[in-house]
Subunit: 420 residues, 2 copies
């Protein structure tokens, strides 16, 4: 797609939402509390339910399917890729500077556009299952140094298997929701028995996640060369983690309550099509993985990631991590091929997260556990405050974008504030 594509809606060069993006989300507006699908351009949300009702997508599909006049994107994401591409192209035409249909219909524009500041964003759909991988080798190494063996931090399976586990789908929440500090069993320092306590080691994890479009049947793995046909798009994800609860509960079956109290996602699903210009070669893998994980056309994505904190004393958020999606050791294609290789089925709107995305350098670590070296080096903020873990009232803001030539394709923000 030419980067010269222009909309009649003015979009600043650092906006996440130019005409090249057009992500999908579910919103409600001040004058209409019905949840429905929208896209965003600049700082304007376009009501796709209305666009569908007015017949402006009828060359793509029968409007009675109500793919957008729906409280979820589930029906849209499982449509054939060709239909989805046609919708994207139709929307780009509709929004382009040289198309009069929307541009010159003042009444339609009034009805169809809402200032982003005035809408509420909701979950983009009903998640079936939520899976969380562990695909950043730097994160695995950092936590291995802290908890296992400084000289041998990676477990023997790490370079063979995209390690992952099942997470809790019900507690995945949209941006801008407060999160209650979880209570649970923790073992005080030097004690052997647990007490019941609010978590004193509440952390974030910087992740990205993809939504499944078309699913696969039980017993019918998705081969690695077909994985991209099943991935609809991506969001930023904050995998809130209570480290003290996690430490006591996670043997032998993995993290449970330390993660299932909340997982926040950014509101707009950025499609694979919008991310196409930002492919980069993935990290080298040594040893070469088993053949079902090999994909010579594979690629990673150059997505810049940031985490900021806003304490109650701050006027504006302060960046505490800069990372990149391309730091991941295991790719999305490998994750999905592995996930299904033993026969597991996937369904539209299943959510599959990357695991914490840390880079190799200080400054690129995607959790406070890593940033503070397990608490050994508290983080000092510009206000003079220090943090080992998140305090009540702190807000964590994550964002992600791809830098194009004169434009960005971004994900907006996922924000969440911890309350006591």
């Amino acid at each position: 797609m030419p980067t010269t594509l222009k909309s009649f809606i003015s979009v600043s060069p650092d906006s996440h939402f130019p005409i090249q993006n057009l992500p999908y989300g579910i919103f409600s507006s001040k004058n209409n509390s019905t949840k429905r699908a929208g896209t965003i351009i600049g700082d304007q949300v376009l009501d796709l339910a209305l666009i569908e009702q007015r017949g402006l997508l009828k060359q793509c599909y029968d409007p009675s399917l109500a793919l957008f006049d729906s409280t979820s994107l589930n029906a849209f994401v499982e449509q054939p890729r060709a239909l989805q591409k046609q919708v994207r192209e139709t929307l780009q035409k509709l929004l382009s500077a040289d198309n009069a249909v929307l541009r010159d219909d003042e009444a339609l524009r009034q009805a169809a556009f809402h200032a982003y500041a005035d809408v509420t964003m909701h979950m983009p759909g009903k998640i079936g299952d939520y899976t969380d991988f562990y695909s950043s080798i730097d994160h695995a190494r950092n936590t291995g140094v802290l908890f296992r063996d400084k000289d041998n931090p990676l477990l023997p399976n790490y370079r063979h298997i995209p390690v992952g586990y099942h997470g809790r789908a019900s507690s995945v929440i949209p941006t801008n929701r407060s999160i209650k500090r979880p209570h649970g069993q923790v073992v005080p320092k030097d004690a052997t028995d647990p007490i019941f306590s609010p978590s004193k080691a509440l952390d974030f994890e910087l992740e990205m996640a993809f939504f499944i479009g078309k699913g696969n049947e039980l017993g019918e793995p998705i081969t690695i060369d077909k994985t991209y046909e099943h991935i609809f798009g991506l969001v930023v994800l904050n995998d809130w983690s209570a480290r003290d609860i996690q430490k006591w509960e996670y043997v032998p079956l993995g993290p449970f309550l330390s993660k299932s109290f909340a997982t926040s996602i950014s509101p707009w699903i950025v499609t694979l099509e919008a991310l196409e210009p930002f492919h980069v070669t993935p990290r080298a893998q040594e040893p070469t993985p088993l053949s079902y994980l090999q994909f010579n056309k594979d690629f990673s994505l150059d997505i810049q990631l940031e985490v900021a904190i806003k304490t109650t004393k701050m006027i504006k958020p302060e960046v505490i991590c800069r990372s990149n999606f391309s730091y991941l050791y295991w790719t999305m294609a490998q994750q999905l091929a592995h996930h299904t290789v033993a026969g597991c089925n996937t369904q539209p709107m299943d959510l599959i997260a990357s695991g914490t995305i840390s880079g190799p350098e200080v400054g690129s670590f995607g959790s406070l556990l890593e940033i503070t070296f397990g608490g050994a080096q508290p983080l000092t903020l510009s206000t003079g405050e220090t943090r080992v873990y998140i305090q009540d009232g702190d807000e964590i803001i994550m964002t992600a974008f791809c830098q194009g030539d004169g434009y960005r394709v971004g994900f907006g923000e996922v924000r969440g504030k911890i309350v006591g």
Copy 2:
């Protein structure tokens, strides 16, 4: 409820489905492929969608709610308990020997009843999230002896926490479906690197599971004294497990592909009301758990459990395990109170399993891993065949029932055959 309650449908004393039971399931019949709700009495399935349409439940709720004329029980299970009890009582009256409404209406009986042998059972609803606990201390001890430390088989957290983890909801399947042997990464004996192979250590796990009725909001734990208001009913569950895949993948985040290829459940949800006569005192717990897990009105259930195998050489299945639900160390109330204590929400039809239910004695072990002492003592069957793990063509059949005075309240069977 008096055990003298009698139906005009004849029910043998060893049937799982007397008028005292009346479990709920989703079925389709030869003459009508629409999935809809039913109950079962003796060997007759009663079409509850039809009963609802005919207005025979209208004293309980407005038939336009279509709680039973639905492809899932999701809407019914989240109704207030008082409504559910009224439906149960109304159905018991309708089926009782001294009530003429159904008994004497030959045409209605013809339309409403189907021979169980002639129907197909389906998933009882759309599962939101699936959780699997690890609540049998004998099972934890048996696996600890095999994999950890013979003299110290229980991990330090076992007697403090009802350990559990998130499972895969999408691959929970109904009875009578074949299961493809999973392929995956396994490490051959004496090797360090994995190969890709069909699992050679395919096992069953005998479990029971409960369905959530009314859910709870995120951040609002279910206190232990309220847990029973949120449990709708129980099924038998086979947590198929590929031990060789599990062994290589499960560190540090828990089992993943070794479990997510299939989980089979029995077709009828037996309600808490039907199980009321079978309460027994749960196992003693030492040490006393933290206060959020204490419940002085707590109870376990006396449910007899059996696992049988049917190889291709057998005429009929052969029992290889007899266990009991009351062997569990952690109760359902403790599981649910723990599950939500950090703030995790639950939703109607979430499925929460017990973990493998083994007893203390040889003969009561709920998996082949335990029955064969990790393969050291292969199982010899009446045909002369031996088994360490499940072979292609083997069928595993699990069943469960409570023995009343002259009647049984049972769960029917969950069957699954492994195919190559």
